[in-house]
């Protein structure tokens, strides 16, 4: 049995925040789980993918976040407890159904995990999704630890069913990817057979119905506000004339800081875990008789603005501060030392700051940026495309491992916004500059949101080449399946959708399918595509070697070596390909046999044919 399915309540385990959320959903009797993976949320769906076959829980990796939320909405409308997971920018994709689902509401409890990424560890922006609460009217719960992540998941389901509204569980990377002791609770048996009750005047949002449902949402909002004001998730630690209002992981930093500063009996802390609707009354209660209050929250001044409004409404003249040049930034994540420092500064407390050792006179450490793996097929495709299409062509890229192609010498990325933007931005750039533009997109991203852009390219006769880097998996987020994957080797029976069929189906006529390890054939295909006026698609097919190794299908190929008697040090292998398996020793290019996977691409790049497979027994 998967350990997270254990019926034994009271046991304590060390859990990643994301696994604590899984356990919470299981305890709450979740019956239906949908997602699109994305760091820092991915371990939640990946764990359901593993454990769902042992249970009656339905799980799917959906095509994108909008689809995930809509599939989930259908299940929740049929009375099933439903969990939908995504990263913060995924909520943008799902925002369209989200806004109206708030009107229509749910029957079974629905929890939407929204994982924010302050500091952009693995994201294109650090937007603060608490504003989605305001925008949609939906309640938001924010845990401060793995234990709370589990407990709040259970509470979020109950709250959702009580209000008949989806509830947003908002986390940040430091909660999703923190690990801490979690005590298990009892399991609730999931109700897995749904029933849809027809009631079109409440569920079909034509304008007349929408007008009524907006009123319904505002009434639910008032009810949620009362619950937030009374919620035990919004609690006060300590007492004193000074106050701190905080949320999420900042609560941990604040608590440690007050202990370090010896301020536990002078500063009261209001931790907001039920942060939308904003519990104005509870906050006003806290503000009364306070001299000054500091708001400690990462990213935007969501709470600070609300706290100031609450004070104004109650006629309280208490000083309130948060974001400012002197105190907290709207940028990046916080850390315990910084929070301690700002608390001391704001309340005028002297303390001994930590003294880092002197490092100015230490040698500079060379950078170690993430890189495409040895033998990564993306590298070969980038090499071939750039060799033919040249340095001047503009290369919009997309979200995935291949975004790492931005680094020299591949330099195969010129523009990026979000999932699916490669093809559509290529259309605009091509039309504006009058040149064929080449977009790169991965297979999972193609299904996520590349198809609609491609339809636009065909219909409006744009002059673009879309290179689909088809490595048969969602590599960057941890090798999840997607609609183009054959899932039989994994023991699943999803229908596989071929990218070539989709591309031809939407009307692309110039279609090329290549194996990128064959440089000559790939370059011939790029040549033909670049000569074609209009939409071309090149599908570059080679399985991700990391994934192949994981599922045991990576072929055993001989590794390569440099024949030093032939090598004339052109260094095309290093200067153009730069596979991490290369290294230089005494001015000679060498290949690390532990890293080489025998893809044979460098052997085709060397003008002296000096790179050859190591002979057996050599």
């Amino acid at each position: 049995m998967h350990p997270l399915l254990s019926p034994k309540a009271g046991q304590k385990r060390l859990l990643l925040g994301n696994l604590a959320i899984v356990r919470g959903a299981v305890e709450a009797g979740v019956a239906f789980v949908t997602c699109y993976p994305g760091t820092p949320s991915s371990e939640v769906p990946d764990t359901f993918f593993q454990l769902a076959p042992e249970t009656d829980i339905y799980f799917e990796y959906s095509t994108n976040e909008k689809v995930a939320l809509e599939v989930g909405a259908g299940a929740a409308a049929s009375g099933l407890r439903t969990l939908v997971t995504m990263k913060h920018v995924g909520v943008n994709v799902a925002a369209d159904p989200l806004m109206t689902l708030a009107y229509v509401g749910v029957e079974g409890g629905m929890v939407i995990l929204c994982a924010d990424d302050p500091m952009l560890f693995s994201s294109q922006n650090e937007q603060d999704n608490r504003y989605y609460g305001k925008l949609s009217g939906l309640p938001i719960l924010e845990p401060s630890s793995p234990q709370e992540a589990k407990d709040m998941t259970v509470q979020a389901f109950d709250l959702s069913e009580r209000l008949k509204l989806p509830v947003i569980l908002r986390t940040t990377t430091r909660i999703n990817h923190s690990r801490g002791p979690v005590t298990f609770g009892k399991l609730k048996k999931p109700m897995t057979q749904g029933h849809f009750t027809k009631d079109p005047m409440k569920k079909v949002v034509v304008p007349a119905v929408g007008r009524v449902l907006h009123k319904v949402l505002l009434a639910k909002y008032d009810q949620a506000l009362e619950l937030a004001n009374a919620s035990e998730l919004n609690f006060v630690d300590g007492r004193g004339r000074w106050g701190i209002i905080t949320n999420g992981v900042s609560y941990a930093y604040v608590t440690d800081a007050l202990a370090d500063l010896g301020l536990k009996n002078q500063v009261a802390v209001l931790r907001l875990g039920f942060s939308h609707p904003f519990p104005r009354k509870a906050v006003q209660q806290f503000l009364r008789r306070k001299e000054k209050v500091l708001v400690v929250e990462e990213l935007e001044p969501y709470m600070e603005d609300e706290v100031k409004a609450a004070a104004q409404e109650a006629g309280l003249a208490v000083a309130i501060a948060g974001k400012s040049a002197r105190l907290f930034s709207r940028l990046y994540e916080f850390d315990p030392g910084m929070v301690r420092d700002r608390i001391a500064k704001y309340f005028g407390v002297k303390y001994q700051a930590a003294k880092p050792i002197k490092t100015e006179d230490m040698p500079e450490v060379p950078g170690r940026p993430p890189n495409l793996c040895p033998g990564c097929p993306h590298r070969s495709t980038f090499f071939s495309v750039k060799k033919i299409a040249g340095q001047d062509t503009v290369y919009p890229t997309d979200i995935g491992c291949y975004t790492l192609g931005l680094l020299p010498p591949l330099s195969a990325a010129d523009f990026l916004l979000c999932m699916g933007s490669s093809i559509s931005t290529a259309c605009g750039i091509s039309r504006a500059t009058g040149r064929k533009t080449v977009g790169f997109i991965g297979d999972s991203t193609f299904f996520h949101s590349g198809i609609t852009g491609l339809v636009d390219a065909v219909h409006n006769r744009h002059n673009v080449l879309l290179v689909v880097l088809d490595n048969g998996t969602t590599a960057m987020t941890g090798h999840q399946i997607h609609p183009g994957v054959d899932t039989k080797p994994l023991g699943r029976d999803n229908k596989q959708i071929k990218i070539e069929d989709v591309v031809r189906g939407v009307g692309v006529e110039d279609v090329h399918v290549v194996q990128p390890r064959n440089l000559i054939k790939t370059q011939e295909a790029v040549q033909a595509a670049m000569a074609h006026e209009g939409v071309s698609v090149l599908i570059s097919q080679e399985v991700c070697p990391l994934y192949a190794r994981r599922i045991g299908t990576l072929p055993k190929r001989p590794v390569f070596e440099v024949d030093q008697s032939k090598c004339k040090n052109h260094r095309d292998c290093l200067n153009l390909l730069a596979c991490p398996a290369f290294y230089v020793e005494d001015q000679a290019v060498m290949i690390n046999p532990d890293l080489c996977i025998g893809c044979a691409v460098c052997g085709q790049v060397c003008p002296e044919h000096a790179i050859r497979p190591v002979k057996k027994g050599a």
Binding site: K12, R13, L14, L16, T39, P40, S42, E43, F121, S122, S144, S145, T173, R174, H177, S178, R179, G180, P181, V249, Y251, A252, Y253, T255, D256, A259, D335, P336, G337, M338, A353, A354, K355, P356, I357, K358, T359, D361, M362, P363, E364, V365, P366, G367, R368, P369, P370, N371, L372, C373, C401, L404, M476, T477, L574, A578, P580, F582, Y583, V584
Partner: protein, 193 residues
């Protein structure tokens, strides 16, 4: 001691995250409060991997500059990169075996003069223990046991509120049978440094 902050740094593929979570598991076994933080995702593709463990009377799970009680470095240049986490009270335990970043490996960057840099660092912290963990791991049977060697060294040289027996139990509970013997041997070799 009421609290201990451990900062861990290394290179993707060295097993830093497994080592990090094993410290957490051992703390749970020892009944010591523990918080762990990790970075997953894009940052792992051959790049620097940082994690942290706090033990005892703390809620935070990351370590600020100058606040590491222990810095555990899986690669010497990464130990240097994380030097700002240290104060004069820090115990530094580092692997001395370099793993050059790609830019250096292909001759486009300079790897720092480690011996003199680590000497400088040693003079500024409580103590600095440098071991060739790669060599010890090979002695144990495989380079993949590098993380166990460093766990052993941590148990030996840092005043952990967790005993070696707890760490060994955590290793036993979380290692596939085929690797267990090697992993325990690697831990012992690290502990013997």
């Amino acid at each position: 001691m009421t609290a201990m902050r451990i900062h861990i740094t290394g290179v993707g593929g060295q097993g830093t995250l497994l080592a990090t979570s094993l410290i957490g598991e051992a703390a749970l076994l020892a009944g010591v409060n523990v918080n762990v933080s990790e970075v997953h995702g894009m940052a792992q593709r051959g790049g620097v991997v940082e994690s942290a463990v706090t033990l005892g009377d703390l809620m935070s799970n990351i370590v600020s500059d100058g606040e590491a009680d222990v810095l555990l470095g899986f690669e010497p240049s990464e130990t240097l990169r994380a030097a700002s986490k240290c104060s004069r009270n820090t115990t530094v335990i580092t692997n001395s075996h370099p793993q050059a970043p790609f830019t250096v490996a292909i001759g486009r960057g300079t790897y720092p003069d480690l011996a003199s840099a680590l000497d400088k660092m040693a003079g500024r912290v409580e103590k600095l223990i440098s071991i060739d963990a790669d060599a010890e791991a090979h002695k144990a049977g495989t380079i993949l046991s590098l993380n166990m060697v460093l766990l052993g060294a941590l148990a030996k040289h840092a005043a952990l509120p967790v005993e070696p027996k707890h760490l060994k139990k955590a290793i036993r509970d979380n290692t596939k049978a085929a690797f267990l013997k090697v992993n325990l041997k690697a831990f012992d070799l690290g502990y013997a440094t």
